[in-house]
């Protein structure tokens, strides 16, 4: 009997496995997918509120749901009008209370409509700005980017026209004001809670630190941060071509093309307004093996963040190569080894240059980054128009490093095979504390490389892998000589202040290099207020030359992202992250 039981159980199991597998393996979805696009996300967004989240995965979805006045052209990364008729007219203000500031006048396209058929107006833009300026709304990052706004004035004749008054002349004012995702006031503020506040009063309230929270603002902020506006299709609504259709936690987020999308007429001249697929499905798949098996099944149309090894293997696979385009695109991120410029061992730029000569950048890119990197010597992304191409890469050169060391007065006086120098009556040995995140394998291997090279000229490197949070604490305390890190960049032009100005050399500031240079500070201020592109680009180049010369960090390479796109679509690889524009995917004729 027990034998029967056993065989019975096993056969039931076997039967069920086989029957389900037959049932599923024909994959009925595959033929029904039509022009729907499926995109892999590397993680699931927590919310789709464009004012409170900047997560890259959420951004990919939100880009389809929300539009802004201007946006970056995916290919050239230049600002182009989207909801606005054109880029704003900019004029300096020379009189009145806002003297010394700048005004930006925008006009919204006549075609631009909300889902309820009403036109998008200046009032919606102003509502969005007010929501950001509301201290409690959770839009902290956007708020600090809008600190130049003093007021917004609506045009008395034209409800689609308005002027932003900026209290200064600042290069990023146009970007910051133009690329805000505009929210429909009728959806996000049904009770009109923000109506009684003006932009200028909110700006004043921000400066007042003594004031207790305002009840009206708190009430709006609480509603604004509720799940309705973060995850539900009744709440997540914008002026984009797509609306949120379905979100299955952990599995997929589906957006659907709106009926009678007004942008269809304009899409030919503006790819941001294009809406070719009827439906775009985002699938959060963290584990790479799972994502790759989905690619092998042809279930994904666009995928990023493929590990270099798998990427190369897939590229070589004939079957897959016939199905997918494989391409590397810039990841807008720069890997650098920063110095503590105030450390007595590194406060001489010759020493920093000597260490720079210990890095073999081509090998680092080839071996440690799997070939997916672009050399970069200036602290700015190589694809920038103002990237200074005259700066020569700093090559691996042990002799040069040695002579620089000697020039700076470092010699091995006590025969311990480490160079030293008498500083303030004390002998200091050249022992460099090199810290990096323990999870960063490439940083460790880079450390081993310079450790090996350093030994040859008497520089001792102590490698200290640290937990990410501990590393951050040590960076704040400047408890390091060198650290390896990557900096992410936005598509907008760069404001070097946060990373390189003396004012940012605070525990919480971004200048962790302790780089304090009067000329750099002056250049940064000039760059920030120069509104003419050509003049500013010249300043950028001067600034890069200065950084190159001062060497507060060894700039290694710009990271590249690996993208695979399904060939059943006509889809372009673009410079903007994540490297493709799913709404512009066009199903091929066959």
């Amino acid at each position: 009997m027990n034998q029967k039981l056993l065989t019975g159980a096993l056969s039931i199991l076997l039967f069920s496995v086989i029957s389900f597998s037959v049932f599923t393996s024909c994959n009925p979805d595959k033929d029904k997918r039509g022009n729907n696009v499926t995109v892999r996300l590397t993680g699931e967004p927590e919310r789709l509120n464009p004012l409170t989240t900047e997560d890259i995965n959420a951004t990919q979805v939100m880009n389809l749901i929300f539009l802004s006045l201007l946006d970056f052209d995916p290919q050239t990364l230049e600002l182009v009008p989207v909801l606005a008729k054109s880029r704003p007219s900019v004029s300096p203000i020379d009189t009145g209370i806002y003297k010394g500031g700048t005004s930006y006048t925008y006009e919204i396209k006549d075609e631009a409509l909300w889902d309820n058929g009403k036109p998008i107006t200046a009032a919606d833009y102003i509502f969005t700005v007010k929501a950001i300026l509301n201290k409690k709304s959770g839009a902290n990052n956007l708020r600090s980017g809008l600190d130049f706004i003093s007021d917004i004035v609506m045009d008395s004749q034209n409800p689609k026209k308005f002027t932003i008054i900026s209290n200064k002349r600042y290069i990023l004012s146009e970007t910051a004001s133009g690329t805000l995702p505009i929210l429909p006031e009728y959806v996000y503020d049904t009770e009109g809670g923000m109506k009684s506040y003006s932009v200028s009063s909110l700006v004043l309230a921000l400066k007042d630190t003594t004031q207790k929270g305002d009840e009206g603002l708190t009430k709006f902020a609480t509603a604004f941060q509720s799940p309705k506006f973060a995850r539900e299709k009744e709440g997540v609504m914008g002026s984009g071509a797509y609306r949120l259709d379905n979100w299955v936690a952990g599995q997929s987020i589906t957006v659907m093309k709106k009926n009678n999308w007004w942008g269809d007429k304009l899409a030919s001249s503006n790819p941001i307004l294009a809406a070719n697929p009827d439906q775009i499905v985002f699938k959060p798949v963290k584990e790479n093996a799972a994502a790759i098996s989905m690619v092998q099944n042809g279930e994904l149309d666009a995928i990023t963040a493929i590990p270099p090894k798998d990427f190369n293997a897939m590229k070589k696979d004939e079957k897959l190569a016939a199905q997918y385009v494989f391409e590397a695109v810039p990841a807008m991120s720069l890997v650098h080894a920063g110095f503590n410029c105030k450390s007595p061992k590194l406060n001489d730029k010759r020493l920093r240059r000597a260490i720079a000569h210990l890095f073999d950048v081509p090998t680092i890119i080839k071996v440690l980054a799997g070939g997916f990197g672009e050399p970069c010597v200036s602290g700015f992304l190589p694809q920038r128009a103002y990237y200074n191409k005259n700066l020569q890469p700093i090559a691996l050169n042990i002799e040069k490093a040695q002579s620089l060391l000697a020039e700076a007065g470092w010699k091995d006086t006590n025969g311990d095979s480490t160079v030293d120098k008498n500083i303030g009556g004390k002998r200091v040995e050249m022992n460099i504390k090199y810290i990096f995140a323990a999870s960063n394998e490439a940083a460790k291997n880079m450390g081993l490389m310079i450790q090996e090279n350093g030994k040859k000229i008497g520089i001792q490197f102590t490698l200290e892998p640290q937990d990410g949070k501990v590393m951050l604490e040590n960076m704040k305390k400047r408890d390091f000589d060198m650290f390896v890190n990557a900096s992410g960049f936005a598509p907008s032009i760069d404001d070097p202040k946060e990373m390189w100005a003396t004012a940012s050399n605070t525990p919480d500031g971004g200048n962790r290099f302790q780089f304090e240079n009067k000329r750099a500070d002056a250049l940064i201020e000039q760059i920030r207020s120069e509104l003419t592109d050509s003049k500013r680009n010249e300043l950028y180049k001067q600034f890069q030359a200065l950084l190159y010369d001062e060497q507060p960090a060894v700039f290694l390479f710009a990271r590249q992202e690996r993208v695979a796109l399904n060939k059943r679509f006509d889809a372009a690889i673009v410079a903007r992250r994540p490297g493709f524009v799913p709404n512009a995917f066009k199903l091929k004729a066959n």
Partner: protein, 456 residues
Amino acid sequence: MLKYIFQRLLYFIPTLLVISVIVFGLSKFTPGDPVENRLQINPESNSNAGFSDEMYQQVARELGVDKPVFYCTVTTRAFPKNLYSILKKDQRTATENLIKQYGNFDKIHIFHQSVKDLLLQLADADSLNLGNNARQLLIQEEDEKISFILTEIRQSGASSSILSRKITDIQTKYDYIKSDATRAQLFLPTFYWYGFDNQYHHWLMNFLKGNFGVANNGQAIRGKIQTPLSITLMMSLLAIFLSYIIAIPIGIYTAAHQNTRSGKWLMHGLFALYSLPLFWLALMALRFLTTPQYGLKIFPSAGLSDVNTEGSFMSFLSVNVSRIILPILCMMIHPTAVIARQLQGAMLENLQLDYIRTARAKGLTWSRILRHHAFRNALFPLITLFGQLLPLLITGSFMIEYIFNIKGMGRIAYEAIVEQDWHVVYIVLMLSAVMVLAGNLVADLLYKWANPRVKL
């Protein structure tokens, strides 16, 4: 019986309290600043590093970290009672470490105050360098570093006489710390009582009320774990149930056919599967059985269906049945092997006992002896195992959920650990602690059911 359950539940309270203290204590010793986590400061971004002190304080208050940590603290006389009121974690840590060196909080406090005084005086851009150095003084603890910065500050030169007086003042105050060190204080124990308005109390009360707090990204943890919890519960229940269904016949069969070839092969086969690492098995299954590359595309790709099932077990099952076969099979392998092996052992033990011989002598059929006599007495290890498997319901199988792209509790916990989102990790820990306790209770009750001689 009811009295017993009630008693056991009473025992849970102190056990859970101890666990909660440990879990909460751990959360205080993990690196990183909860406020900065909340502000989402990460080392890669250079744009949002500049948050204001006011923002920091606001978030600190929201998170409740402006309160004492626990009801009481046992420390040394050198430490003041209200050290927690230094809100910024880096400054508090630096103060603590200075106290550990010199034992004179009052002097250290005056030193830090003098630095803050100087910072208030600095407004113009010329003194940026001075300000940066001064700010560093607030978070440094090593004498060498502080002296170095003080030298820098002196050398940078003050632009006015007020400033230079302030700078001298800072130097003097620092010298006082060293000259007036009261290290003896560090050896005198003391006890401070803070009352109920403390972080632990609020955390525990909120946990009991089902308010699990907020994850680093601002999402309520309760909302975050709701769906994953239901998915994990459904999958684990299925996996445990199926493991028993399959393992019990195998266990009985192998015990009855211990010396036959089929019995031996079955046991060896199970052991071979058991000794394979789970993650490897899962990865292999994923690679070979879900893609057409090797001609064996039997199962759909990893992940659950896109259809929203809203937590109903039957609809979840009907929509996802083909998608959960592989993960559940992987989840079942280890428990099945263990259950079968345990059952076989217990059966063999029982089969040698006198009562079995009696039963055989009585003329009962072999299968009846196996099912009604030996099996019932061999149930104990199965019950013990059930108690141990129950916590799986909460934590799921980290690896399986990760590899098969299923967002269950295991993956939530895993991702929270990777992202160092400790609030989430501790809630998962607490929930699994509750499950372990519940598992033990259920196991005890099952013992009683299986063998009425067991006294509860």
